[in-house]
């Protein structure tokens, strides 16, 4: 309990620091948000000042920060200068897209990565092992912005197997239930109107971005599984089990795997952060309407509130995931409790 409390106490300066960074760093970006709103053909100075006032950009900067902080504590992240929507509602609108992409990428990399890793560990120093380790290192070194383009070039453009970009065929109307299209397209109203087509459309749009985003996690998971399996297989109790004549299958799947899973799960959770990083590039390439694309676009249109709010929410999410991982680890690993 003390451990948990301490963790949360440690959080406060970090969160405050992030708010500070978000606010000031972004405020230094050159370029005038008011002018950005105005567009191409000029504006008279009186109206310019009026707009500045309505946006609260004429106050002293410290006062602006104080207002910002008060609002954040109240859960109010401000409104987008460009669209006039609240930052929170824009985030909520886009987060499911990123979550869906991230989860599928993570599932993809897990269900392929773990078996490969186990197999490589069992066939240590075989050709397969070497091949897998080399392939995973290549995957780990992959510039995903290039990888995504190559995937599009091959599968969409040359072979015509998958759509080029987007989340679903735009002709389908999908009412929001969970925000995840793979679930929403299975709602009764959709099924009655269009059958399974919208679902498959969502799947086909998801394939390439998930592969692009999942490549690095796949490599990491395969390597991690392999090494933690090797470590466990070398432990005394496994040797004892072997000596007792337990079947190899039983040893691998019941004893070794269960113990090897702890570090694997930790890795998985820590990959969440890198998935979000990867999502920024992947979403840009595949025009995936998620938070990565949202933030990159806001930077180019100097939408301060969105950048502030967006970066803030993303880092909060990552911090809380990390805390959760720590807690899970704490619960799973009795040694740490003392």
């Amino acid at each position: 309990m003390k451990f948990i409390l301490k963790k949360f106490f440690d959080l406060i300066p970090t969160l405050l620091g992030i708010s500070l960074i978000c606010f000031f760093l972004i405020r230094l970006i050159p370029g005038d948000p008011v002018l950005n709103l105005v567009g191409e053909r000029g504006l008279d100075p009186v109206k310019y000042l009026e707009m500045k006032k309505t946006l609260g950009l004429d106050l002293p900067i410290l006062e602006q920060f104080w207002i910002f902080l008060k609002k954040v504590i109240q859960g109010n992240l401000g409104t987008s200068i460009v669209s006039n929507n609240s930052v929170w509602s824009e985030f909520i609108e886009r987060f499911p897209a990123t979550l869906e992409l991230g989860l599928i990428a993570l599932i993809f990399s897990t269900i392929i990565g773990i078996p490969l890793g186990i197999y490589a560990a069992l066939k240590r120093n075989s050709f397969f092992d070497y091949f897998l380790m080399s392939a995973s290192l290549i995957g780990y070194s992959m510039p995903i912005f290039w990888w995504g383009l190559i995937l599009i070039l091959i599968f969409s453009v040359k072979l015509g197997l998958t759509p080029v970009s987007g989340r679903i065929d735009l002709l389908y109307e999908v009412p929001t239930f969970s925000g995840l299209y793979l679930i929403d397209t299975l709602q009764k109203s959709v099924l009655n109107a269009e059958g399974l087509k919208p679902f498959f459309s969502a799947v086909s749009h998801l394939v390439l971005p998930a592969i692009a985003l999942g490549t690095i996690p796949l490599a990491v998971i395969a390597r991690m599984t392999r090494s933690s399996m090797l470590e466990v297989l070398g432990e005394d109790y496994i040797r004892t089990a072997k000596a007792k004549g337990m079947s190899k299958k039983r040893i691998v799947y019941i004893h070794a795997l269960r113990n090897a899973l702890i570090p694997i799960i930790t890795t998985l959770a820590l990959l969440f952060g890198s998935i979000i990083t990867g999502a920024i590039l992947t979403e840009t390439i595949f025009a995936w309407p998620g938070i990565g694309k949202w933030i990159v676009q806001s930077i180019s249109s100097r939408d301060y509130p969105v950048i502030q709010g967006g970066v803030l929410i993303i880092s909060f999410i990552i911090i809380f995931t990390n805390i959760t991982v720590d807690l899970i680890y704490y619960i799973l690993n009795p040694k740490m409790r003392n």
């Binding site: 191409e40 109206k47 080029v164 002709l171 025009a287 694309k293 180019s300």
Partner: protein, 526 residues
């Protein structure tokens, strides 16, 4: 094995888009759904070209002015009073939030003009209270008064004769909004909705918008005019040109906006696609700031004109899909002066002029490169790199600079640049819209004269032409003005680009709009 996987993919993922729907891959997000507020082509396509109409409109595919919401009009002898007879029985859209109880009438016209014209109008300050086009065209100064004579008759009086007035009110920002809808929103306190959930009289009804992703429209069943058979019109927002091309090929969209010059050859080869092309109503140019040294020197400006190898830009940047420009107006606009002789590409002569001007060893200068892709300059950065190499040959060392688009425009209109890549697409097909708007003395202060070049003789000619109703006289004046422009060389005119539109074979009846908008009113999907 490969074949099996392929088959499974095809069965699972092939989407058979139903006929009668048109997915249009557009290049960006609209900045608002009120055409009075917006100035960019992207937003105009999503509003004025679909949802709204004006008193008069341009005939499809031309710049000829035809009756629209006004059935006819009379112009007084002194050219100061315009009386419009409005069309009867025109219905506004019925949407989720609004059901009209009356037909379109004079109150709607009055409302649409007054919102922009009168600073104390209740809707004037909604969405920021800025009407760039209305102010930029000086409509507030031109219009003296708007009066409702009877429910179907509106009278507009002007302060002074204005030759392009009808063309001005055919422009997107003069779209007619519903006064009844506005009134209803005012009662419920949701005045912002007027600009977010638009209601118009046009051929398409606004359905929904997901920011940066998709806009959906449906057919207006009670449209008064002729229209094609499109049921659902969908704008798929796709900023990257190569992605638009790929989506067109895979059938994810049937029409793409602004295809990249690089893809045109392949599109033309593809038997499933139709590529239309037309000379654009545009000009791309390099402006030299005459208030900055050494470009105050006429010889230097002429030398730069001589040093740039324009044909190589046409080849590399426009991939041959443009004409070398010699005048500031494109040849498709009346009063284009054929007799003007352009500066040739001549390095030795350029060096001589520089020597005469006292820059035998050249000089250093900054050039600003266009940060966005436009038809008149699809790749400013690359064009800058080519110009950099050309100017180096005559001893001018160029540093390339660029900013994000709004900053670029702001700094440029304040005149901070030495050399600046810029361009223009005509708004109404009148030479005034180029020569007075871009090169007149008043444009130096208002900003759009990026050379800050104010020539008394030139300005006199274009101002006189503006207030002269007779087209013949105007033509003569504009031709004379173009001569002065060429001699004084405030710009290096670079290109008038060809505009391309690519679509699936089953799209019929589409015509290229010379003003650069995409209009689907009369389009049929087969």
């Amino acid at each position: 094995m490969k074949l099996v996987i392929y088959c499974i993919f095809v069965i699972l993922f092939s989407s058979n888009a139903q006929a009668k729907n048109l997915v249009y891959c557009s290049e960006g997000s609209p900045s608002s759904f009120n055409p009075q507020i917006v100035t960019d082509g992207t937003s105009v396509n999503a509003t004025a070209a679909t949802i709204f109409e004006r008193l008069v409109d341009f005939e499809y595919g031309t710049t000829k002015i035809i009756p629209s919401l006004a059935q006819s009009w009379e112009i007084s002898k002194d050219k100061l009073t315009y009386t419009f007879n409005l069309r009867k029985g025109v219905k506004f859209h019925t949407t989720k939030s609004f059901t009209p109880t009356r037909d379109f009438n004079a109150n709607d016209v009055l409302f649409s003009f007054d919102r922009q014209r009168l600073k104390d109008h209740p809707f004037h300050n909604i969405s920021g209270g800025k009407y760039e086009y209305f102010d930029g065209m000086e409509m507030g100064k031109i219009i003296k008064d708007v009066k409702v004579l009877d429910p179907y008759k509106v009278q507009i009086t002007l302060n002074s004769p204005e030759a392009p007035f009808l063309a001005n009110i055919a422009m997107s920002f003069m779209s007619i909004l519903s006064e009844e809808y506005a009134h209803k929103l005012q009662m419920t306190g949701k005045m912002n909705d007027l600009d977010n959930n638009p209601v118009g009289t046009g051929p398409f009804i606004f359905q929904s918008y997901l920011k940066d992703s998709v806009i959906k429209f449906s057919n207006n069943p009670s449209y008064w005019g002729k229209h094609g058979n499109i049921d659902k019109l969908i704008f798929a927002i796709t900023p990257d040109a190569s992605v638009r091309h790929q989506k067109l090929k895979t059938g994810e969209c049937q029409f793409v906006n602004e295809p990249s010059p690089a893809d045109i050859v392949e599109m033309k080869k593809n038997s499933k696609l139709t590529v239309l092309q037309d000379a654009g109503l545009n000009v791309g140019y390099l402006a030299m700031n005459v208030t900055k040294k050494p470009f105050d020197n006429l010889l230097v400006r002429q030398a730069v004109n001589l040093a740039l190898n324009k044909p190589s830009y046409i080849e590399a940047i426009y991939l041959g899909n443009a004409k070398i420009a010699k005048n500031p107006i494109p040849p498709t606009i009346w009063s284009y002066n054929e007799t003007i002789k352009d500066y040739d590409y001549n390095i030795t002569k350029a060096k001589e002029l520089l020597k005469k001007a006292g820059f035998a060893n050249g000089f250093e200068a900054e050039m600003w490169t266009l940060p966005v892709a436009r038809p008149y300059n699809p790749n400013g950065k690359k064009m800058g790199e080519l110009m950099q190499a050309d100017l180096a040959k005559v001893g001018i060392k160029v540093k390339l600079v660029s900013f994000d688009w709004p900053t670029y425009l702001k700094k440029a209109s304040q005149g901070e640049q030495q050399m600046l890549q810029m361009g223009w697409t005509g708004d109404n097909g009148d030479p005034d819209n180029f020569l007075h708007t871009l090169l007149g003395c008043s444009a130096v202060t208002s900003g759009s004269n990026y050379s800050k070049w104010c020539d008394k003789k030139f300005d006199q000619l274009v101002t006189e032409a503006k207030n002269t109703p007779d087209v013949k006289k105007r033509t003569a004046l504009y031709k004379e003005a173009q001569k002065i422009f060429k001699e004084q060389a405030p710009w290096v005119t670079i290109a008038h680009s060809v505009v391309f539109k690519a679509m699936s074979k089953n799209i019929q009846g589409y015509k290229i709009d010379p003003l650069g908008h995409d209009i689907f009113t009369l389009v049929n999907v087969e």
